[in-house]
């Protein structure tokens, strides 16, 4: 299989299970240092623990005995790195954009906090306030309000039924969960659940030598989460949300997909269907956005999750009286794809777009790491990304139709509509 990343790449797995991927690329002395923990809100399967993976991401900046947070921050400041982190359904990424010459200093800091995290209960409680603030700023967005309800309706048991921020009631009790936070760290922040991705002006042998030195002593101990299996959906679901502010009505429709498999042409074709049916060059876009101008925007995409996820269709409707009309056009569009394969030339255009779009997005080491992270989190290495792009290229119009026939059926879907309360 041809590697999709056009730079020299080496992958190694340490005896303790830590996978290390090094991408050597010319980058004017810059490097990206990503630590990808294969734990996200998917792992929040216990009662009242929604949002905890994200909260824990914040705690990772609260220091160790050797490098307390003020010392850690001072070192990061001194080397002028751009350091941050984020949490998704399936993984949590800690990333630094930095000068390659600072690699060993950064590795000393990062390996220390992943192995020796230590924070006081007071710091833990203070950080809970910052997480609440993040929720406050997000909840003013109508899309967030609808999405929270949509996934909560679509999933009855699986943790994909809550957003990565978690429910407000669970955020409110976070300050009381210090002991649980230590347990969370012991269970999930382990080498066999982590991938180190380093890209830029670096050489693999030098990186691996440092990794042996700084991560070799990290102890295994990963405890797999007891994630409940989502029961098969058998009937369409619907959720209507009233929004306190003023907004255009928003429609989101979520279809249940089978588990993602980069080698499964039909499953991969679901994402291509989404773009062909509702993307900027689709008939639905031309009709609803450009010609009739009844929606401001329409888009769709299929999730790349570890467990069975969703294909989501989104539209902002300009006229509240036209919500049902827009839902009808979406249904008609899906019916068209179920009844006949898409035009082969359009599919070929999309396949070309996916390839060029990916390549054009690899401008910096941080770009490479951020584009790879999601797929590294799914498969634990880069092979999944290469496989996905090979499958993209192999998808046929018949595969797209098959995907629509199998997955785009009413009993697999949840329809969400948000409108202003007044």
């Amino acid at each position: 299989m041809t590697p999709i990343i056009p730079y020299y790449t080496e992958t190694r797995t340490l005896p303790n299970g830590l996978t290390v991927i090094v991408v050597q690329m010319p980058s004017d002395g810059l490097a990206a240092y990503w630590t990808i923990v294969r734990t996200g809100s998917r792992d929040e399967y216990e009662p009242d623990r929604t949002g905890f993976a994200h909260f824990f991401e914040h705690m990772m900046f609260r220091g160790t005995e050797r490098f307390p947070s003020d010392v850690y921050n001072r070192v990061i400041t001194t080397i002028g790195a751009d350091a941050n982190a984020y949490t998704t359904d399936d993984h949590t990424a800690y990333h630094l954009a930095m000068a390659a010459e600072d690699l060993e200093k950064v590795m000393e800091l990062e390996s220390d906090r992943f192995q020796n995290l230590s924070y006081a209960e007071s710091a833990f409680q203070t950080e809970a306030g910052a997480v609440y603030g993040e929720y406050r700023k997000s909840r003013t967005e109508p899309e967030f309000a609808l999405y929270e309800e949509l996934v909560g309706t679509a999933f009855e048991r699986h943790p994909y039924g809550h957003t990565t921020l978690g429910y407000e009631r669970d955020i409110a009790i976070m300050p009381t969960l210090y002991e649980y936070s230590r347990e969370f760290w012991r269970r999930y922040y382990r080498p066999e659940n982590t991938v180190l991705f380093i890209a830029g002006d670096v050489t693999p042998p030098a990186v691996f030598a440092l990794v042996d030195k700084y991560y070799g002593g990290w102890q295994r101990g990963y405890v797999a989460p007891q994630i409940p299996v989502e029961p098969e959906q058998t009937a369409e679901r619907r959720v209507d949300v009233s929004y306190d502010g003023q907004t255009l009505p928003i429609v989101m429709i979520a279809y249940k997909l089978p588990v993602y498999d980069a080698a499964d042409r039909t499953r991969v074709a679901a994402d291509l269907f989404a773009d062909l049916a509702f993307g900027e060059t689709s008939e639905a876009y031309r009709r609803l956005v450009l010609d009739e101008q009844v929606v401001e925007d329409i888009d769709a995409g299929a999730a790349y999750n570890r467990d069975p996820g969703l294909l989501e269709i989104y539209a902002r409707v300009k006229d509240p009286a036209k919500v049902d009309y827009v839902l009808g056009v979406i249904d008609e569009t899906i019916a068209t794809f179920r009844s006949a394969p898409p035009d082969a030339a359009r599919l070929a255009d999309l396949q070309r777009r996916l390839r060029y779009g990916f390549l054009m997005g690899l401008q910096t080491p941080d770009d490479v790491a951020s584009r790879a992270a999601q797929f590294v989190a799914l498969s634990g290495d880069l092979t999944g990304l290469d496989r996905l792009h090979a499958t993209y290229a192999a998808v046929t119009p018949a595969d797209v139709r098959t995907a629509a026939e199998r997955y785009l059926v009413d009993e697999r879907r949840t329809v969400g509509v948000l409108r202003s309360r007044q």
Partner: protein, 509 residues
Amino acid sequence: MSRGVRIVATALAVLGTACTPPSPPPAVTEREEIPVVLLNVPADPTISFSLQFAVGSQNDPPGKEGLAYLTGDMLADAATEARSLDEILAALYPLAADYDIRVDLERSTLTGRVHRDNLDAYLELFTDAFLKPAFDEDDFERIRSDAINAIENTLRYSSDEELGKAGLHEAVFRGTRYAHLSWGTVAGLRSITLDDVRTFYRQHYTRANALLGVGGGFDQALVDRLAAAVKQLPAGARAAPPSIEPQPIDGRSVVLIDKPNADASISFGFPLDVRRGERDFYALWIANSWLGEHRNQSSHLFNVIRELRGLNYGDYSYIEEFPEGGERNMPPVNVPRRIQLFEVWIRTLPNEQAPFALRAALRELQLLVDEGMTAEEFELTRTFLKKYMLHFAETTDARLGYAIDDRFYGLDDEGHLARFRRMMDELTLEDVNAAMKRHWHYDNLKIAIVTGEAAQMRALLARGEPTPITYPTPKPAAILEEDRIIEAWPLNLAEERMTTVPVAETFEH
């Protein structure tokens, strides 16, 4: 050189790095008819385009606020004479390329990027966008409707933080052509006709106003083709921009944006007459980075309000325009201004904690201006910036954007990023502390607060009484001791200097 265009080989100094200085790509300017900024990076498989026009929302005729924005979008998001918009989208689709325009207060910049494999297919689409806009009536209605929705729904109701920042900007620049949003106002947008757009385009999208930029792995033939296209624009004449003289701020005043059920989002600041290139600008950058580096844990405000007290998600400060602050980490390009806004951004927090957070931020600003940075803080911050700035322009298109902006600021020879780096070595602690005293102040500023409790907040702020906060969990004695000082920090806010605006009336006119 082809067509006798004289190439003046003015190498734009490009930032070097502390570690491995990159070989500075030659950037040259053509000075005949069409100024061109070239940033040749042969190893880059893509080509970046930039065509900037000296026109922005400051040129909106009174009553037609939003005209520059709509005109720009009618170029970048609408049909051309050769193709309908859906045909354009279909043509761009396999190229994974597009073009976009940023209409800011002073400049409108059309940018695009394409893989060199796809250059020929792309070039005609890009040049048609600015040479042959169709000014289609349906496109116009769609774009205008989207712009009105962006104010009436999205800005007013979807992001309190952006609303607060926009409210501050409007308050500081009220009475000038900087005051309204670059999108315009609701009333202005409603009054604009397609004929207005056609006229505005003819008047401002001219050779006299144009600045072309090309970056990446291009050759001279491409530059010639682009320059030839730009030369098809009418000659025009560059008009002097409108005078921007914000009213002097005497004391502190507050705009409360009354939004039912909202938490509090606060911004405060004042106009700043210091620009890129000036020595004091870089001195202020150091001070500002220490006070409130954007989305960085090195920010002192972040440390005081979030890290130690957990009141919100972040707290930052700015000496240059920084749009989309919630989404981007590094400074943007193509938003040059003659007058900047010094701005403190306190992210959303509970209403009952808002007066305390405001006091904490005002106090930190005052302490910094009065007492200055310490030698240790100064050294740490400039050490940080010397490397952190490497991330400002990691890509060809970002570097091209900086080079384009250098023309606005008259930094053709050295360039902002190179000067930035030099200044980090040259400036002294005394320079920084003196610059703050010259340009920053804490008694005369404007404050914008989005809140669901406007009446109570207004009364509380006017009374000036202490506004203590409580924590859900124990705090160290040192924090509580400092809290006693912060909660009673003088606000100096008089009732008659406060205005309350219902959210539904913001940015209407």
